[in-house]
């Protein structure tokens, strides 16, 4: 589903991703961990088409499509979704109408009929229950004045409504209390199927108790230096990253 080969990306001449490889197949959940500044969000942004990054080498294909040549909205319509580490506040744009517009753009792209206001409301009410979000937040401008946790839940609500094939969650667990963490994880688990896949970026092993990954990768200085199963996350929790980084350096 997602195939990244030797991806090298720089920002303002500064190399950030330095030859990254990753294969994600339908039905899989991949966790990406790694120290601050190692390039996790950069990877998420490049995959979803944010401007300002220069791809110096390598490739990224999604469902066989050359991802790096597609406009961000086309990636979204093809079923990709990024839950932002820092969701953006958009004053003056109503949360509900924004989400309805987004869903209908995706449905149009798939050749499906657009949902009218009533059907959409039915859908969104159902998904709000899933993430236990207050209805009042639907009437507000997108993320404006939302608490940190409310913003993260809003990301998961959007994911639930848009029902992506490949979702990248960038530190969705950061800033969530234990209950919220369980709710967000519950949301992911309900959406999980044999057809779709998740890439979960996190600093905390705790999340992986709720969202059990098939693979855990460690990203350090722009490269994946180790991949393993969920046991790797436990080991990282105990030992930190230094031993891994040293191990990688001695190999190089």
């Amino acid at each position: 589903m997602l195939s990244i080969k030797n991806l090298q990306v720089s920002v303002e001449e500064k190399p950030i991703l330095k030859g990254l490889n990753l294969e994600v197949k339908p039905g899989e959940i991949h966790a990406i961990m790694g120290p601050n500044g190692s390039g996790k969000s950069t990877l998420a942004h490049v995959l979803s088409g944010r401007e300002g990054y220069s791809v110096d080498a390598g490739s990224a294909h999604y469902k066989g499509l050359n991802l790096l040549e597609m406009a961000p909205e086309i990636r979204a319509r093809e079923g990709m979704f990024l839950a932002f580490q820092y969701p953006i506040e958009i004053p003056g744009v109503n949360n509900t109408s924004f989400l309805k517009k987004a869903l209908n753009e995706i449905r149009k792209h798939r050749g499906e009929e657009e949902l009218d206001a009533i059907d959409f409301l039915g859908l969104i009410k159902k998904q709000m229950k899933l993430v236990e979000m207050k209805e009042e937040l639907l009437k507000r401008p997108v993320n404006q004045g939302f608490s940190g946790g409310e913003k993260k839940r809003n990301e998961i609500l959007q994911m639930a409504v848009l029902n992506p094939m490949l979702a990248i969650l960038d530190e969705t667990d950061s800033g969530l209390d234990i209950d919220a963490l369980r709710i967000v994880a519950g949301g992911v688990n309900k959406l999980r199927s044999a057809e779709n896949a998740f890439v979960v970026i996190t600093h905390y092993q705790r999340l992986l108790d709720y969202i059990v990954p098939d693979f855990v990768h460690v990203l350090s200085d722009g490269q994946i230096i180790k991949s393993g199963t969920k046991e790797l996350a436990l080991e990282l929790e105990e030992r930190g990253y230094d031993w891994l980084i040293e191990e990688a350096e001695s190999k190089a």
Partner: protein, 440 residues
């Protein structure tokens, strides 16, 4: 100011000696006529006019087209902004009985309205006194054109202690074919103590020939009176519109102004508000939206001469193509105006590289116990917000539209007449639909 002879000033001078029936008596007209006789028009060398391109206007020589036909459907469509209002329509400056609601509908309501041309006796005197009491610091020639040459306009008077339920909607439509159409309507609004009223002034134009609109409005609110005053400009691209509005608000009065300048080749709006007693309040809102070579120029002047008054201004500009916006707002807080609260904000969104805006919010404070703040921004759309919308499947054009509409909506949502809010927001959306093409 410099002496410059031009087609327009020559035409103005010819009008002075015309046989036409003017709206006002000599008391109001003569000071203005002597200014006009001087033929003094501002040039780009005048500091206050350095941005305003008057060339097209000064080159033109208006005429009178007696065969002009007005577009019935268009007039009806303008009325839709305010279906529940009492509507008054002027066609090329003349009062239209056909399209206006009958004044008898307002009988015994404590509210009286009349075209200036039908005004006489004490009512005419009251209208003229209101004008003579007013002071415009920007003593520009266009207000003298309005006062000296005006043949018509609207007088609105509300008695004491009246809550006017029905808003007034006055529509000025110019239609020009072959020859330049000129109008200079004058509006006079008097709201007596503790009464409240809403008035919408709408300006529209049609036709391939040039239109010149030079309105002047004089507003006086007595103690505790309130007026919500909306100005909607939707004239076409061959129109030059220069207006002056003078407002006096007595103690505990409340003046609220909403200006939506969405048309015209050139718009210059000068709005001056003076408090004439303590505890008064002024809320000024506005959006100016320009494309191609449009020029939109908004000026405000707020005179805080009494203590415990508050003013709050919020203007937003959206500029595309080669259009140019100007915001020039001066707040004067005089020595005795303690406990003044004056806020002023101007935000501008540039949608193209060639659009530009000159913003100059100014505060002059001579009192020491005041709360004043002002700020101005000029920027592009937030690229993070654009990306966020795109990452959800919304294409760049639609995302740009959504964000631009939202930018305007933060002001337009304050219009407290539902039909008018919808009308203005639809107009903004329609204009944006036409002009927003993403750069890549």
């Amino acid at each position: 100011m410099a002496h410059l002879s031009n087609n327009f000033s020559e035409w103005v001078n010819l009008q002075i000696d015309n046989e036409s029936s003017f709206a006002f008596s000599e008391a109001v007209r003569s000071p203005s006529l002597s200014k006009l006789a001087g033929g003094v028009f501002p040039t780009r060398k005048d500091e206050e006019w350095k941005y305003t391109p008057l060339g097209d206007l000064l080159d033109s020589s208006p005429g009178r087209d007696t065969a002009v036909v007005f577009d019935h459907e268009y007039i009806e469509s303008l009325k839709q902004a305010m279906p529940l209002a009492h509507t008054i329509v002027f066609l090329n400056g003349e009062y239209s009985e056909e399209y206006s609601d009958s004044p008898t509908a307002l009988e015994d309501s404590g509210l009286s309205i009349s075209p200036l041309s039908q005004l006489e006796g004490s009512a005419l005197k009251l209208a003229e006194d209101t004008i003579l009491n007013s002071t415009l610091t920007d003593d520009n020639i266009f207000q003298h054109i309005a006062l000296g040459l005006s043949q018509n306009g609207l007088f609105i008077e509300v008695n004491k202690n009246i809550e006017c339920q029905t808003p007034i909607h006055v529509i000025y439509i110019s239609t020009a074919h072959g020859v330049t159409a000129f109008t200079s309507p004058v509006n006079v609004i008097r709201v007596s103590s503790n009464s409240h009223l809403k008035v919408v002034e709408q300006y529209a134009s049609l036709g391939e020939a040039a239109v010149i609109t030079v309105p002047a409005s004089y507003i006086q609110l007595d103690d505790g009176a309130g007026l919500n005053y909306y100005k909607i400009g939707v004239e076409n691209a061959s129109t030059n519109h220069i207006c002056n509005t003078s407002v006096r608000v007595a103690g505990s009065g409340r003046f609220e102004s909403h200006q939506y300048l969405l048309g015209s080749n050139l718009t210059r709006s000068n709005l001056e508000v003076s408090f004439t007693g303590p505890g008064a309040e002024a809320i000024l809102r506005g959006v100016y939206l320009g494309d191609e070579n449009q020029h939109l120029d908004v000026r405000t002047y707020l005179d805080h001469a009494y203590p415990h008054c508050s003013s709050d201004q919020h203007f937003r500009g959206i500029l595309n193509g080669h259009s140019r916006g100007v915001f020039n707002g001066l707040v004067l807080v005089r020595e005795h105006a303690q406990k003044t609260d004056a806020q002023q904000s101007n935000k501008n969104l540039l949608l193209s590289r060639d659009a530009r805006v000159d913003t100059k919010p100014q505060l002059e404070i001579f009192a020491d116990d005041v709360k004043c703040a002002h700020g101005a921004t000029v920027g592009e759309l937030d690229s993070d917000a654009l990306f966020y919308l795109q990452s959800r499947g919304i294409d760049k054009k639609d995302a740009t539209l959504m964000l631009t509409r939202a930018f305007a909506a933060e002001v337009t949502q304050e219009i407290d007449i539902d039909s008018l809010q919808t009308y203005v927001q639809d107009k903004v959306s329609a204009s944006l639909d036409e002009i927003v093409i993403p750069s890549d």
